[in-house]
Chain length 345, copies 2
């Protein structure tokens, strides 16, 4: 079969990818328990349709381990600052592994403290924040998760990237299915800009600046530039507040000093925060469920439209993907198979 | 002097207004210490140029005390849920008084816990959130403050108001002057809509819907309608997350059930959250100061423009207002003088 007729995408069952992904990491020197946590986080992103936080990050993670900037088996060094504040030195471990160990430590404290916060530094990319917020909320905890990233976002009115995409996730028990918000404070993701560039699409006006700080709709020019903050001056202010908050609690690098979440060879120096809080009562959880249903029932401005609540659309996507399998670029699938079989790529 | 020649505005020194305002509350049955806290919060808003959270709320507060829906001397009943989570039943006390007593209790815990959270219910309007966040940050604490309000904001794509304006404040020590963010999750404030209506100005497209849920630029029609969330679907999602978060922790009313921050005769049933957290170190504080200066130095897109950091513009306003005095509508100044002299208005 020649290259032009090669399939561009391949759809695989979740269980196959769990097995392949875990084998990739075990071959890279990661112990099985840690490998399963890392792959769980990447697959959770695939299940919600967020490929940018999914398996495409796995080959890079293997390279990071080989290059000595990701420690395959660190779970993080814990130091309690008082009863409820946990400083975690990630020891350059895998992001989800360090995060999960921190969450376990917070959960142990919650009964006696009511709230506990982990401030994590020197850890690798923790992936899609909803992964943690959703599972904590399913376990009856309120979760707030923040993370910083390389500077990709320009200040409101400014020409160059000075802020990370600085996402936040909030998970709250709400009857049958938890409420889960997960959003970056950038207008769009850099992944989306790359996708538009790869597929020759033009960006919307106002999404990005080029490398000289001029507004552009050329996706390729924007790759060397900066993304706009969402929501104008307020979204900028919020993203900046998150960067400052994470910095004050983790002493991580800030702004243009941040490296290590998009490359293969630099020690990652961003920070993560995970708040775990005990909700008031089951009654409050049911009241929230009722309120969210009332919000969903708001008549829509556009006839035929419906009002959604955060998580509704990704829950629908997840059900379909669990049923039909996860679709990956064929080249990525081949690369993962090779790595899982112990072949170098 | 006839009505047409009456002055519309009057400018008074801060100290005069402190005295007048405190006397107004003492005449309404508030003890001096509590009156000073409440007036401090209202004047802090005036100093930052946010009249909507300033003295114009004082006559209404007096009516609320007279009507028995604000308790002049409750400081809130405290119940610790574990070492770090404080449930506060405000007992329908004055918002800033209940909040300040909660903050004092959190501060006492912080040395031994590292983080503490107050979840406040049954308290009156707490005013401008920056008031708390700024003072906590000046005292070396990291502060996150959230509050809910009457439903004034429509869901993204929905016709009617289902969310409060749900503001957030974040205060972080940052060298010389703390970083302070304070923003509502609505596109504009209802106060601004009223001001546009009063002065016959047209709203920008996309700010508001009328009472039937149709987009409008008529400010008077918008007063009976709903304000847009800031930042499209993301801003909506965030405002909703804040409402859900406050609800889960305070068991307050949600959405259209919320009353008592804009009227004179209903028991206030919104909720407030105040997080106090111990920062990592003085070094982190100085690193943040340096980062914020770097952000301010970003070249601007518009020639002659500068990039601002949250709090910069209100700090400049505050310096000018401290120097020149606080300007109030003359009718409000007269009303406050009458109330301070013990006359009914």
């Amino acid at each position: 079969m020649d290259a032009s007729s090669a399939p561009q995408f391949e759809t695989l069952p979740l269980t196959d990818l769990q097995e392949i992904g875990t084998a990739v990491l075990i071959n890279a020197g990661v112990k099985r328990a840690a490998a399963e946590i890392q792959i769980g986080a990447l697959l959770a992103a695939e299940l919600k349709g967020h490929a940018s936080h999914g398996l495409l990050r796995l080959p890079r993670l293997v390279r990071r381990i080989r290059n000595g900037v990701a420690n395959p088996n660190s779970t993080g060094k814990h130091q309690w600052i008082g009863q409820s504040l946990l400083h975690v030195d990630g020891g350059h471990g895998l992001g989800p592994v360090v995060a999960q160990h921190a969450i376990d430590a917070l959960s142990d404290r919650l009964e006696t403290t009511g709230i506990a916060l982990a401030a994590i530094s020197k850890s690798n990319h923790i992936g899609m924040l909803a992964y943690y917020a959703e599972r904590m909320a399913q376990n009856g905890q309120i979760a707030i998760v923040l993370s910083t990233s390389e500077a990709l976002v320009h200040p409101y009115g400014g020409r160059f990237a000075m802020l990370g995409t600085n996402p936040i996730a909030i998970g709250v028990p709400a009857g049958e299915r938890p409420f889960v918000l997960d959003m970056a404070t950038s207008k769009v993701s850099m992944g989306k800009i790359h996708h538009y560039s790869d597929t020759g699409q033009e960006l919307d006006a106002g999404w990005a600046l080029d490398g000289k700080g001029e507004p552009t709709t050329d996706a390729t020019a924007a790759k060397a530039g900066a993304i706009a903050p969402f929501g104008g001056p307020k979204g900028y202010a919020l993203g900046l507040a998150f960067e400052v908050l994470v910095g004050a609690l983790t002493q991580c690098a800030l702004g243009t000093e941040v490296v290590g979440t998009l490359d293969s060879d630099k020690l990652c120096n961003k920070g993560d925060l995970i708040f775990a809080i005990k909700p008031r009562s089951g009654a409050a959880s049911h009241a929230i469920e009722g309120y969210l249903d009332a919000v969903r029932s708001t008549p829509a401005i556009q006839p035929g439209d419906t009002v959604a609540v955060p998580g509704d659309r990704s829950a629908a996507r997840e059900a379909a993907i669990r049923e039909n399998g996860i679709t990956l670029p064929a080249q990525l699938a081949a690369e993962l198979r090779a790595l899982s079989a112990g072949r170098d790529v």
